[in-house]
């Protein structure tokens, strides 16, 4: 996957880049409008991660420009800390594939990128297998084992899916909570609810096969290891 990261804030740029490289993406960097414009024009990318407030211009103009270029088939995800709420509408109107307000979680960024990919290539049945004989159907939102459905609630499915998506990473309760309850602003970290969900998930899965692939990392969170 070839990604162009357009972000003028050096530290943030570096962190996102490090994360994407760690997740096996090929990352190209642009720090200014001109740089980005040139790279979008000359290369072909799978993704453009676009900050809106750029030195030398507005990211939205860059998006408009890129969308007029028929050779450029990249998916655009807008990353911005701008307060204005119409930016979101404008961005999506101009053909952005997704919009992630800063501050965002890198894990969330990655799962959005995967969702965009799924949409783009219209995979009808995308199955992920895990544990001993489990499989997860992304579009059907079901977990199966040996031809049988594992009955999970919506949140339990989301939790398992997120852990599988970030296999081999330790996810903190905070990151899991943010994914499950999204941008609804709340004070508490919802960690207890995560613990209960994990407990129920293990109970339900272990009725079919051992569920020890969901590991507890003491004091930190959870992880699914291969």
């Amino acid at each position: 996957m070839h990604v162009l990261l357009v972000e003028d804030e050096k530290s943030l740029h570096q962190e996102v880049r490090q994360f994407l490289v760690g997740s096996q993406y090929l990352v190209d960097s642009a720090f200014t409008y001109a740089e980005a414009s040139e790279k979008i024009f000359t290369n072909s990318y799978d993704f453009v991660l676009l900050d809106l407030g750029l030195p030398g211009g507005d990211g939205l103009d860059l998006l408009r420009e890129a969308r007029q270029n028929e050779r450029q088939e990249a998916s655009f995800i807008i990353l911005t800390a701008r307060g204005g709420i119409d930016d979101r509408v404008k961005g999506l109107d101009l053909g952005a594939d997704d919009y992630l307000p800063k501050p965002f979680s890198l894990l969330e960024l990655q799962s959005r990128m995967q969702a965009v990919m799924r949409r783009k290539f219209g995979l009808k049945r995308q199955e992920v297998s895990f544990g001993e004989g489990f499989s997860l159907d992304v579009s059907g939102r079901t977990i199966r084992h040996g031809g049988q459905d594992v009955p999970l609630t919506k949140k339990e499915f989301d939790l398992l899916h997120y852990l599988l998506l970030h296999r081999n990473r330790v996810l903190t309760r905070l990151q899991l909570g943010e994914h499950l309850w999204g941008n609804v602003l709340e004070d508490d970290s919802d960690s207890n609810y995560i613990d209960v969900h994990i407990k129920n998930l293990r109970k339900k899965l272990s009725q079919f096969a051992p569920a020890d692939f969901i590991e507890t990392v003491r004091g930190i969170g959870y992880s699914i290891k291969n």
Binding site: S11, L12, G22, I85, P103, V170, T172, L174, V184, D188
Partner: protein, 448 residues
């Protein structure tokens, strides 16, 4: 009462008073005028008769004892009477004017009479000229009627013309109120077109209102700009830190002790982030940065909220009972914000409920119009002294330890979103029994 109506009323009242005064004063005045007019005529006639007598001699008129003459309609009569020689008594007053009945042709009539004694050829005579009082009264009545009509018509005409003029004069004021004040809920809706008026007072009022609104609007503009900058300035560093923490968490060389500290730092950062985002959200709502262009059913939003919170309800074994009769559809609403509002209320009701408790959501049309949605929990309740500060994002900070634990900024957001939808959010609580948050919607709605 409107100024124009008040002016018209006072005007009418004063004119009425004038008419009343006229009605009281005109009859006696007219009567006196009529009587003195009659008297004057009688005197003149008396002088004329005397002149004639002096010229032609008394014998021309009086052959016998008396001369009498009256006109056919008996409105006037003249008598000349020879008086017996003075008996040495005091002469009666030579000239008298009085009212007395007289018999004329077998009919009694009231007359205004002038009576004058004079001496001619050594003989005393009495000249009497009478004018029928009925004639005098006719004159009085006519005069009175005319005077009253003039008064009433004059009063009516001036009342109407004054009212019309006041209406014309006050029209700019009316426009000021309707267009400048009532029609403007937000500075952006204000029209800066100057008011068409030649009245200096209104021009001044209008220009000060416009100036004031310019100030308010520029303050709003500045706030919006400030918010945008603040969000950028605050959220960018938070963003950097958040990404950095996430990357560090994946670092296999990091020891357990550091990992734990990292998780803790992440928690602190989230708290900071949520506070910043909440304050920005509130500021953006208050600055009218959100659209209000959807019609949203409360029941539908509530269904989404309950679905989102289903797992928490199950985990805490809380029963949620929904009773919306009927549903309420807001015609100008923002569904995302309404979702946040109801989510905050219901999630609080879960959080501050006891295990195995109950949540009741009741929706009813309000007696005074509009709609009431109440979310009641069976939790420990909130002490009365905390209630006034529950929705206040700034007071909470000052209240410090007195603030109820953990309610956080969820309620200030709820209140702001409620106000954005012209709704009021109120709370009632009984310690040991539970708390009810009620939304009072006043928007006109379409009942579903």
């Amino acid at each position: 009462m409107r100024l124009e109506a008040k002016l018209a009323l006072s005007n009418t009242l004063s004119k009425l008073l004038l008419v009343l005064l006229g009605a009281l004063l005109i009859p006696p005045i007219v009567e006196r005028v009529a009587v003195s007019h009659t008297d004057e005529q009688l005197r003149e006639k008396c002088e004329q008769v005397l002149t004639l007598i002096r010229r032609d001699g008394i014998a021309t008129f009086v052959q016998g004892e008396q001369y009498a003459d009256y006109n056919i309609l008996k409105q006037e009569y003249i008598t000349l009477t020879r008086l017996p020689a003075a008996s040495g008594g005091a002469l009666p007053a030579p000239l008298r004017i009085f009212d007395e009945p007289r018999q004329v042709d077998n009919e009694m009539e009231d007359f205004r009479i002038i009576s004058r004694q004079f001496v001619s050829t050594g003989q005393r005579y009495r000249l009497e000229i009478g004018s029928s009082l009925a004639t005098v009264e006719l004159l009085t009545a006519t005069l009175r009627r005319m005077a009253l009509w003039v008064l009433v018509i004059g009063a009516l005409v001036t009342v109407l013309s004054d009212a019309a003029f006041a209406h014309h004069l006050l029209r700019p004021l009316h426009q000021l109120i309707v267009r400048r004040l009532e029609g403007v809920h937000h500075p952006s809706a204000f029209s800066y077109e100057p008011l068409a008026t030649t009245t200096a007072d209104f021009q001044r009022l209008d220009s000060s209102l416009t100036d004031m609104m310019r100030l308010v609007q520029s303050a709003f503009e500045k706030e919006r700009e400030f918010m945008s900058n603040v969000s950028h300035e605050l959220l960018t560093p938070v963003s950097i830190l958040q990404s950095r923490f996430e990357n560090m968490l994946q670092d296999p060389t990091l020891g357990d002790a550091h990992l734990l500290k990292l998780v803790d730092s992440q928690k602190t950062l989230y708290r900071l982030r949520n506070t910043v985002k909440t304050l920005l959200l509130i500021a953006n709502i208050e600055n009218e940065q959100y659209l209000r262009d959807e019609s949203v059913s409360v029941a539908a939003v509530l269904t989404d909220v309950v679905e989102e919170l289903e797992d928490r309800l199950t985990q805490r074994e809380i029963v949620l009972h929904q009773d919306l009769q009927p549903d309420y559809v807001l015609l100008q609403a923002n569904s995302t914000l309404l979702f946040t509002l109801l989510f905050n209320l219901v999630s609080n009701a879960i959080k501050y409920n006891c295990e195995g408790g109950r949540i009741t959501i009741t929706g009813r049309p309000a007696v005074t119009g509009g709609y009431q949605l109440a979310v009641t929990d069976t939790g420990p309740g909130i002490a009365a002294r905390h209630l006034p500060y529950l929705f206040d994002r700034f007071r909470r900070v000052q209240a410090g330890a007195a603030a109820p634990e953990g309610y956080g900024l969820g309620l200030p957001i709820a209140k702001t979103i409620a106000e954005f939808h012209q709704a009021r959010l109120t709370v009632e609580s009984t310690e040991g029994q539970g708390t009810t948050f009620t939304l009072h919607f006043s928007q006109p709605s379409r009942n579903a």
